[in-house]
Symmetry: C2
Subunit: 230 residues, 2 copies
Amino acid sequence: MTLPHVEKHFAGGQKVRDIVIGMSDGLTVPFALAAGLTGAVAASNIVVVAGLAEIAAGSIAMGLGGYLAARSDAEHYASERVREEVEIKEKTEMERQEIVEIFESYGVAAEASAPLVTALEKNPESWIDFMMRFELGLEQPDPKRAVRSAATIAASYVFGGLIPLAPYMLEKNAHSALLFSIAITIAALGVFGYIKGHYTGAPAWRSAVQTMVIGSVAAGAAFGLARLIS
Amino acid sequence: MTLPHVEKHFAGGQKVRDIVIGMSDGLTVPFALAAGLTGAVAASNIVVVAGLAEIAAGSIAMGLGGYLAARSDAEHYASERVREEVEIKEKTEMERQEIVEIFESYGVAAEASAPLVTALEKNPESWIDFMMRFELGLEQPDPKRAVRSAATIAASYVFGGLIPLAPYMLEKNAHSALLFSIAITIAALGVFGYIKGHYTGAPAWRSAVQTMVIGSVAAGAAFGLARLIS
């Protein structure tokens, strides 16, 4: 292939993106829920039950959601490709004109893009691929991605969610457990944010602080709300 | 603009996508959590407290997450654009060669893309825009999107999450409330899935069934797990 930037961007990006999606919610929501419940109940066991129920629900909802999203991306690509193929066959002149227009929007005159149109016409398969990417902005999705994506998101969610819950499993008094939970979760959010920043190209320290702030705000709001209404 | 397909795809898609993101998790996770807790406790008030804490936590985590994701998209675009600008100025020959290679991967010979290269060179701003989209596959993000995206996701999450909780607010016995909660949430998931399918172009009935299945599986797993450990 001759597009190294894009290819690289895609292969590593997908897996990291799935881990980030699962882990950021997994670390944040069960943490905040546990903190919130601690504002209303004193016994750790209720918090553990609620937390594990949340982890089960959240990981399944996100994993299945990710699976279906990836599959619907693949289907969308396939159906648009069929449509493009038909259009090229039946409305050839219009599709030719579309190529010219794409380049005109970049200040390229029709005469300069004409040889390109002629070259694409000789190879209809390439023409379709070209229209998919350059007219519609769609990349061909990896067919195996759906299942892998679902599993990665769900596993990351479970892994992230067990961190804030661990103290409640070990300490019967929910209020004491909360302090440990806050300490290890904020630390975990910081480490996660730092690594995430490193992989996504954002400044790592800023990413660490942002992730800790999101977790703290969510947990604080859940705690305050639960205390208020109970 | 001369790219109506892409433009249309983007403008409507973003808002719908944010509502779908917020609402699918909002309908599913609080529903499953409430069902799960009902497997362990008999009083609705604990379920309501946990559910509202979850809604607060989930909407903030997803909303802030969406805000930061949109902002980091915008920053990524800006930094890549600067890099592309420098490359075009300093490694002009290499960038010229990259255009040729992009088209070669679609079976277009170097001679056919040469006039295009010449035309782009006359207008460096368009050349940068061209490389952003055609080499890197990046679209310019709307700068106002971050805040709007966050608000839409969070509001959809809250709206979705209050539906499964409503019965618990009205009925003190959690087990009776669960039955109502299942009924209205499965119905809401079906309606939501149907509308979602309509907007995203998937078959509406299949989308409705899928959404109901995800919600039911998540809720069933949470219920089973909570019952098992309590």
